[in-house]
Amino acid sequence: MALVYLLINGLQIGSIYALVALGYSMVYGIVKLINFAHGDIIMVGAYCTWYLMSRFSFPAPAAVAAAIVFCAALGVLIEKIAYKPLRNSGRLSLLVTAIGVSLLLQNVSQLIFSPNPRMFANIFTGTVTIGDRQFSSATVVTIAISLIIMVGLTLLVKYTKIGKAMRTVSEDNETAQLMGINVNNTISFTFALGSGLAAVGAVFYCCSYSQIQPTMGSMLGLKAFVAAVLGGIGSLPGAMVGGLCIGVAESLTKGYISSKLTDAVVFGILIVVLLIKPSGILGLHRNEKV
């Protein structure tokens, strides 16, 4: 009985990680950048939803939609201003820029919203009964919508024109250009998509933890990133599998070992996987050449 609830809770938080991990994975696949600012986009999404709902009393769906659009636009803006000029310089400078953008987002939101945590009213109230067990509707909605989004995203990447462009650019940037693919637009689209997913993840996260603060994104982002690496960075199904694994592992650790050690367990799993199979569970192994 307890195990079932732990697993379901794990799947709930795991699907949030998966949504965020997808953004990390797509961006890494396409520009080879660990986008540290991604975690803070989650925070922006959460604040955006909260602000629209509490100050302008937007209905929840409208607020969420606005947050998704806002985050997508922010993602594209960050890419255009901060990452694009550095695309041809070293990866380390890109990484430091990403850390800088992350710090900037955190501090700007501290300036606007103060560092104190705010309460976020759960959008999905009530419970759902499946069989003879009761689950909160937030759990059910999170898992269901995440699954739908993941399936949709897989279809998008596999069958649409822009999806094919994304895969081509991530395989070989220059050849893609020669084939007449607009690389800049494709990269912008990837950032928009990833940031939009982060906003969705943010709403689900807030519904289960009911508290938002300017630094909430960094740990959530790191764990989602671990999920992306665990599944195989650059691979979409990998990000989903990784997210769910991390979520379930975290929930089981909370239930059976100690809630203090969840972070250590998450990073421990990461280290073990990296040492045994550095390309992750579903990642492709690429040979290095001189």
Partner: protein
């Protein structure tokens, strides 16, 4: 003079005299109250940030890896040094260096322990792995009994003085510069330029990677020890990923592969937030904005790979003076 300036022993003597002179000047400034008490205290964070940045530069700039767990080694060194000095009861000037050297050694040992598996990986994966280790170290310290856990480790003697920080900064700079100039350092640089080619030329890459990584970790531990005895309290939550990121930012801004750059950048970036204290609410915003700006407009960092050498500078200075006076003969042209 020019001939003398090219001799290594003379250069060491020159640097030693300069370092001594700088110390006398700093102490005079403090004793004559040119620097007030608060400004004098600022010298200590500048010192340990220099040690942190220069040591990280060894593994990031010279070895060419990307470690994101430097704060983890700093915390190991800090906690070991603090626990040792708290259990000893010796005069401060004996206890402090003992504790700090011990902290550095423990951190270096952990560097070998973590480096051996971690350095099998390359590039981003190594970065992620060290990030993971850094977080695990923090969580473990948070959950151990003897480290005080979340209640922080309190009651560490406030023994760090400007003199000790200055001595340890000098030791760090000396060891790391001589290491890089040595045969071992050239092996490390070869690994940075091309690891596979270095291995093909017979350089034991694993050995040198682990060596550079653990020396880097050891000096992070030294900085941690100084930090612990400066604040007299250790809070595990301050050694998170953001701390490691801050150190990396110092190194990259100064220029990867430039020790001089790291020293300047550590000094400026430690003072800058204090100067911006008047705009308290905005200072972190300005700080992060500046970081992004520098990266966009000068991605190689402020100093690139430039290295300052007193001997070379004086040499160039005297040569140009002689040229100006019209005494520069053909021998000088051959020299330069």
């Amino acid at each position: 003079m020019a001939g003398l300036l090219k001799k290594t022993p003379f250069r060491y003597a020159l640097n030693a005299v300069t370092a001594g002179g700088l110390y006398v000047i700093i102490m005079a400034l403090i004793n004559d109250n040119v620097l007030n008490r608060y400004q004098a205290l600022m010298l200590i964070p500048i010192g340990f940030n220099i040690i942190l940045a220069v040591s990280l530069n060894l593994s990031a700039g010279f070895l060419g890896q990307l470690p994101l767990g430097h704060a983890g080694f700093m915390s190991i060194g800090g906690y070991s040094a603090a626990l040792l000095s708290m259990s000893l009861s010796m005069p401060a000037n004996v206890e402090l260096p003992l504790a700090i050297v011990f902290g550095g050694l423990v951190a270096a040992a952990f560097g070998i322990l973590i480096g051996l598996p971690a350095l099998r990986l390359r590039g981003d994966y190594l970065a992620i792995l060290t990030l993971g280790f850094g977080e695990i170290i923090r969580v473990v310290i948070l959950n151990l009994e003897f480290t005080g856990g979340a209640n922080c480790l309190r009651g560490i003697g406030k023994q760090t003085t400007v003199t000790w920080v200055y001595i340890f900064v000098l030791i760090t700079l000396f060891v790391i510069t001589t290491l890089i100039k040595s045969r071992h350092g050239r092996a490390v640089l070869a690994i940075r330029e091309d690891e596979i080619a270095a291995e093909a030329s017979g350089i034991p890459t694993t050995y040198y990677k682990v060596m550079a990584f653990s020396v880097s970790a050891g000096f992070a531990g030294v900085a941690g020890g100084l930090y612990a005895h400066y604040l007299s309290i250790l809070d595990p939550s301050t050694f998170g990923f953001m701390r490691s990121a801050e150190i990396l930012v110092i190194v990259v801004l100064g220029g990867l592969g430039s020790i001089f750059g790291s020293v300047i950048s550590a000094t400026v970036l430690t003072i800058l937030p204090e100067l911006l204290r008047d705009f308290n609410d905005y200072r972190m915003v300005i700080y992060s904005l500046m970081l992004v700006m520098v990266m966009i407009f000068k991605p190689s960092g402020l100093c690139g790979r430039y290295e300052f050498s007193l001997g070379d500078t004086l040499d160039g200075f005297f040569t140009s003076i002689r040229r100006q006076l019209g005494k520069g003969g053909p021998t000088d042209a051959a020299d330069s």
